[in-house]
């Protein structure tokens, strides 16, 4: 999907202190790290060397201190932008009275066939091409590494360009645009008048603990760009989905690939930190880590779209990166499988529109969330069900998870939404424990595993009894978020998906109706109502929950409702089809970390369920 939305922008209004809307950004990346590019051509978030590394540009979180790399016309202009078809290469088109200039942004991906294999560790490549008339552009390069705690000295190296070194790290800007340092030597600016047909480049490369590689410009840069475009198009062509909203599904798959750390197979929840769930509030979290809570849907999204290798790599990461804690599982891990992710506040950053604190790390890492066991087992089950094979270690991990579930399921936990309040007996968590044991028994029956079937079945019955007695409120005619409560939780929509009950079971049907009534805001849903949380109220609707509702409706055979709801939900996408974590209930403005893998997984999941319900199955459920 490569839609364009022209808008009028005034350079004066785009000055440093004006925060763009969260979904004003587009995402580029190389499957190792990513950058957010604003609608007016500024890279305002970029971390090196990987997603959860320190930022070098963070104007997203602090306009004055954060640092940015902006390229835009002087004076009045209109902007439209799009991804090149089936790629993660972004083209921002600036139109002024005197001409048109196109800014192409990409993070090059070097294939094995690359002619020159001495490539930088990471590169951000920007091409500026004047396609009509003449346009005067201005460049503003302000690197602020290490979350803007370092103000580096930018040094000039003749025709090699500009470098700034900090510790064992090197940022090198090579460009054929004329730039000048400011008096402090920590910022480069320049203006240049482009004539029709003229093309120039900026290549920002990064090295760490190694000798830097400075990529050439001109035809060589054009080749890197073409190679990257070709790589993305070849990857996207593998997608086997051609059903309902195929363009949106493909774009979601590309976005999911963009937040996949290719060196391990891990998928980060989002490439950003501390974009607020409520503007001015404290619900600002670091999402640049890998949560296990969406494991099964992620795996199925990839495999059912014909991205078998990505699914396989993700499951491999799940079962191997979690070795440090297995068979017990933490809530989140970093891209290399590190389980201890201490949280701290960056007091020197003001936060998006003053939303403080800005956090790095995530304190939820050591919470007890029982649902992750069900998610991991379900992911493995789906993988095997789709032709995958597990090795002996992986089978042992799964069996170990079964024992852990039997031991822990009665404990109160923090649940899927990981509120920072007291633990509760979350119904969804108990159901996921049931799912874990159910799938382990099925795998055993199919000869993939050996498990103590009778013991697991006994525990399953006990879980089911507890859920039906304490997790269902007969007065409300609904399952509830926690045992013996009246709280609602959108995660209960997944009970049918995971096979706990038939979608048209009366209890499930009534629960959907109540969730839609209590948590619904148009097509969207809030994620919960009244669950223990020590944060101030006021968050928006949680985008993935709306897609779960579509998934439920499709499974229940209510296809027209499902389709109509899906259509309305896609209206929340930005102009380049990226979704945020949440949306303001009143204004519809994007909230939370952006773009959000969970939402894109939800979109793919809902589309696949719709397709399946309409008789286009590639796989059984």
């Amino acid at each position: 999907m490569n839609s364009t939305t022209p808008l009028t922008a005034d350079a004066a209004a785009m000055q440093a202190d004006a925060y763009p809307a969260i979904d004003d950004y587009a995402l580029i990346g190389d499957c190792r790290t990513a950058a957010l590019v604003s609608r007016d051509g500024a890279v305002e978030w970029c971390c090196f060397p990987h997603f959860s590394g320190p930022s070098v540009f963070a104007a997203l979180l602090d306009r004055r201190r954060g640092g940015r790399f902006a390229i835009r016309p002087r004076g009045q202009y209109t902007v439209s932008r799009e991804y090149l078809p089936d790629t993660a290469v972004l083209v921002t088109r600036f139109e002024t009275e005197s001409g048109v200039v196109e800014l192409t942004d990409a993070m090059p991906i070097f294939g094995a066939s690359s002619e020159e294999r001495l490539q930088p560790l990471r590169e951000l490549l920007r091409r500026i091409h004047c396609s009509r008339g003449h346009v005067e552009l201005e460049v503003d390069y302000q690197p602020r590494p290490e979350y803007a705690t370092v103000t580096p000295k930018i040094r000039h190296h003749g025709r090699l360009g500009w470098s700034c070194a900090y510790g064992a790290k090197l940022l090198h800007l090579h460009t054929d645009l004329p730039l000048q340092p400011n008096d402090f030597g920590d910022r480069l600016t320049g203006q240049y008048r482009f004539s029709e047909g003229e093309t120039r480049y900026c290549s920002l490369s990064y090295a760490e603990s190694d000798i830097g590689v400075i990529p050439p410009l001109g035809p060589d840069a054009a080749r890197r760009l073409d190679s990257t475009i070709g790589w993305w198009q070849a990857w996207t062509r593998q997608c086997s989905y051609h059903g309902f909203h195929a363009d949106a599904v493909r774009r979601s798959a590309i976005t999911l690939k963009l937040v996949t750390f290719t060196l391990s197979g891990a998928i980060v929840a989002a490439p950003t930190t501390s974009l607020p769930e409520k503007v001015g509030g404290t619900r600002n979290w670091d999402y640049r880590y890998c949560w296990l809570r969406d494991a099964s849907m992620t795996l199925r999204a990839f495999i059912d779209l014909n991205y078998y290798h990505e699914g396989q790599a993700f499951l491999g990461w799940l079962l191997h990166a979690t070795r440090l804690t297995a068979p017990e599982l933490d809530v989140l891990y970093d891209v290399y499988g590190e389980a201890v992710i201490p949280e701290r506040n960056l007091e020197h950053l003001e936060g998006y529109l003053g939303s403080r604190p800005v956090r790095i790390g995530n304190g939820a890492w050591n919470q007890l969330q029982l649902d992750v066991y069900g998610e991991v087992v379900l992911a493995a089950y789906d993988y095997i069900h789709r032709g995958g094979r597990l090795d002996r270690y992986e089978r042992n991990v799964l069996r170990g998870i079964g024992y852990v579930v039997c031991r822990l399921w009665r404990r109160p936990d923090k649940g899927l939404w990981e509120p920072r309040g007291e633990p509760l007996d979350h119904t969804h968590s108990k159901v996921m424990c049931w799912v874990a044991l159910d799938r382990l028994i099925r795998l055993a029956e199919q000869g993939h595993l050996k498990v103590p079937k009778a013991h697991f079945q006994t525990v399953m019955r006990a879980i089911e009894e507890a859920v039906e007695q304490h997790g269902y409120n007969t007065g409300l005619r609904s399952y509830t978020g926690a045992f013996d409560s009246e709280q609602m939780d959108a995660a209960l929509l997944l009970m049918a998906r995971y096979g706990y009950r038939d979608p048209n079971d009366a209890r499930i049907r009534d629960t959907f109706a109540r969730i839609d009534r209590v948590l619904g805001r148009g097509a969207q849903l809030r994620r919960y109502d009244g669950l223990a949380d020590d944060r101030p109220p006021g968050e928006g609707v949680f985008a993935v929950c709306g897609f779960w509702a579509v998934d439920y409706l499709a499974r229940a055979g209510r296809l027209a409702e499902a389709q109509e709801r899906f259509e309305r939900l896609t209206g929340y996408a930005n102009d380049v089809w990226l979704f945020s974590e949440e949306y303001d209930t009143e204004t519809g403005a994007a909230l939370g970390n952006f773009p959000q893998a969970f939402t894109h997984i939800g979109l793919i999941t809902a589309a696949l369920s719709l397709g399946r319900a309409k008789g286009e199955p590639r796989f059984e459920d």
């Binding site: 003749g158 025709r159 090699l160 064992a168 090197l170 190694d210």
Partner: protein, 165 residues
């Protein structure tokens, strides 16, 4: 005469050359890992012959090891010419060796290395490695310190080894 001595004591040259090279390598790799310097001599040697990063790294390491032995032989010949091997003579030799590397070898490297860019010409398809600059300072401001420290230790160990041998 000197060569004959060296041949008679090849085992010392082999063992102490290996030990001193191992220490030098540890200091230089340690400096890289600790963020003190980005200089990697094995990588620079390897990229003389290969543009593939992994081939360059592996071959560079082998070349570097061979180079360490060759220099151990040179040190032996030097000490034999002086008539005596001592730890302090080794230390001074190692210090001078490191200084030579920084002030003479690294500055001319951009002109002889087939894959290193220069500030005059800019990077090309083939020549794109960051040049070391004065005293290797482009690779980090502690590069002179770690390079000299590594080579001084290298000389000290060889002087000491040949002394006790």
């Amino acid at each position: 005469m000197l060569w004959q001595q060296a041949l008679m004591n090849w085992d010392q040259v082999f063992i102490w050359g290996l030990a001193a090279t191992a220490v030098l390598t540890s200091v230089l790799y340690g400096s890289q890992s600790m963020g003190l310097s980005r200089l990697s001599l094995p990588f620079l040697f390897g990229t003389f012959f290969f543009h593939d990063r992994s081939k360059a790294s592996v071959s560079g390491f082998v070349l570097y090891l061979i180079g360490g032995w060759l220099f151990a032989l040179l040190y032996f010949l030097l000490f034999a010419a002086l008539g005596e091997a001592t730890w302090w003579a080794g230390t001074i030799t190692g210090f001078v060796h490191g200084l030579f590397l920084l002030t003479a070898f690294l500055p001319i490297l951009p002109y002889i290395h087939p894959r290193m860019a220069t500030e005059y010409d800019g990077p090309t398809s083939r020549r794109r490695l960051e040049p070391p600059g004065f005293l290797g300072l482009n690779y980090g401001r502690r590069t002179p310190m770690t390079t000299i420290a590594g080579h001084t230790l290298y000389g000290l160990l060889l002087g000491f080894g040949y002394q006790i041998g």
